[in-house]
């Protein structure tokens, strides 16, 4: 038997953490800001900055051209297109941005099984979903509102009527805010269904463009055959025509529907309800999706 002095426990100075615990709100805020930065490739490799930045630039260039034309043409008193028309015209770019970034935001966490790691922190399922949803919606809002801001500043520099421009700008901002929430929700739901990024991209773009193609084709046919009453109801079946309907009914926009009639205020209420139901529905679907994602 060895003498009792031969074994000894050394105190090598382990200490417990005594700093401030930042808690759930801080974790949620970090997840939000990192996801938002990630949606533009900030804080990620140079290669992943290329696509979002190109799309952002493509989004802003037409606004600059519009402003330049409005200022250069003598005697013009307003911008050649309305604030509310801009997002409808550039919907393909918005769609491509969402399709490339929504899977980036959620699919990678699923594929590399990092979701359980998030939930080992003091955040709940609701925090994760809210942070990701808010980040995607904010990223889309930045994408769609920046060109409007450029147009607004340009029109003020050109000394167009301040009241008119501010009103139009406000309407445009409300409309793109609604669009961002709707698109972000639908895009994230589609992207969260698959851990494979490629399929996520295809699913998001399919969800945005195919209903639009179908709806506008059937609307054109209905218009051509004199069944104009059906047009405003058909618009309920695709995301972008929903936004078109809401802003035509309530935000003084010019519709892109065939015939130019647009949606009346009565039907507009139905449009607004459908949009809000879709936003709430995508939130609920995401919550349901992540109930088991950690297991």
């Amino acid at each position: 038997m060895a003498p009792e002095t031969s074994t000894q426990i050394h105190n090598i100075g382990y200490r417990s953490y005594e700093g401030a615990r930042l808690g759930r709100a801080y974790a949620r805020k970090s997840l939000y800001s990192q996801s938002l930065r990630g949606a533009y490739g900030l804080g990620r490799s140079a290669k992943s900055k290329v696509l979002p930045m190109i799309l952002f630039a493509v989004m802003c260039v037409p606004a600059l051209i519009i402003v330049a034309v409005a200022i250069a043409v003598p005697g013009s008193t307003e911008l050649p297109i309305k604030y509310t028309t801009y997002a409808l015209t550039t919907q393909v770019i918005i769609g491509l941005y969402l399709a490339s970034q929504a899977p980036q935001t959620v699919s990678r966490d699923l594929r590399f099984k990092t979701v359980p790691l998030y939930f080992s922190r003091p955040i709940e399922r609701v925090d994760y979903v809210v942070a990701k949803y808010a980040a995607m919606a904010s990223a889309l809002f930045v994408l769609t509102a920046t060109p409007l801001l450029i147009m607004y500043i340009g029109s003020l520099l050109a000394k167009f009527d301040f009241g008119d421009q501010t009103k139009g700008f406000g309407q445009g901002i409300v409309s793109v805010l609604l669009l961002s929430l709707l698109f972000a929700g639908l895009g994230l739901v589609m992207a969260a269904l698959t851990p494979r990024r490629g399929f996520g991209v295809a699913a998001v773009i399919a969800m945005l463009l195919i209903p639009y193609g179908a709806v506008s084709t059937v609307q054109a046919v209905a218009y051509g055959t004199g069944k104009a009453g059906a047009i405003e109801w058909l618009g309920l079946f695709s995301p972008i025509t929903l936004i078109d309907g809401v802003q035509t009914a309530f935000l003084g926009a010019t519709t892109a529907f065939p015939g130019g009639e647009g949606v009346s205020a009565g039907v507009g209420v139905v449009y607004l309800l459908v949009v809000l139901a879709l936003i709430a529905g995508s939130y609920a679907a995401l919550m349901a999706r992540y109930r088991k994602a950690g297991l």
């Binding site: 990620r44 490799s45 290669k47 992943s48 696509l51 393909v92 491509l96 399709a99 490339s100 990678r108 594929r111 590399f112 269904l193 698959t194 494979r196 990024r197 490629g198 399929f199 991209v201 295809a202 699913a203 773009i205 399919a206 463009l209 195919i210 193609g213 179908a214 084709t217 059937v218 054109a220 046919v221 209905a222 051509g224 055959t225 069944k227 059906a230």
Partner: protein
Amino acid sequence: MYNPTVARLTYRALLGRRRALILFALPALLIAISLAVRLLTGVDDKVAAELLGGFALATMVPLIGVIAGTGAIGPEIDDGSIVYLLAKPVKRPTIIMTKLIVAIAITMAFSAIPTLVAGFILNGNGQSIAIAYMIAALVASVAYSALFLLLGTVSRHAVVFGLVYALIWESLFGSLVDGAKTLSVQQWSLTLAEKVAGEGYVDSAVGMPTAVVLLALVTVGATAYAGQRLRRLTLAGEE
């Protein structure tokens, strides 16, 4: 140049589980719209040609081509499991050829057949419009599959670039700049449809010889280059 095992794996990767849903959704939608239009307007050759040209050939065929073409190889490169395939004693061009054949078959099955069915629903193949657009869809399937399979080996964002080509180049620039139509798979395939359909229902911006030469060139060139790309593939880590 054809390996049944690779073909089976590709086929399962494309049609396995939920992925097939995207592929089924499009044709189902086309047929639903055709039924709606037929009920709304009755038989109308002009409407049939517009719907098949505007929705089936301009939107559905390229989208299915993108999904099948890039889906045949993209996800494998993306998650790195392609190394297990490349490590087997199978020639790289053979892998590409096999994947191309599967992609073409799937694109054809999911685009040409629904186009034909929709054509029959719309106007019972009046003026041979259904047959004409089916032929266009068949031809376009080959070129799109080859093109998007190549994109799948070149870029991680293959789906996005494929969509940019299909939606922005072919639809947007094609309708604004006439010259862009010469470089559009959709227009090449339409030249064949033009020959089949009745006068004035289908028109294409490209002449027959140009279209055939360019189609062959793109298909063969893209496939050969994709085979070369696969011979010196570097696997990038996750960005």
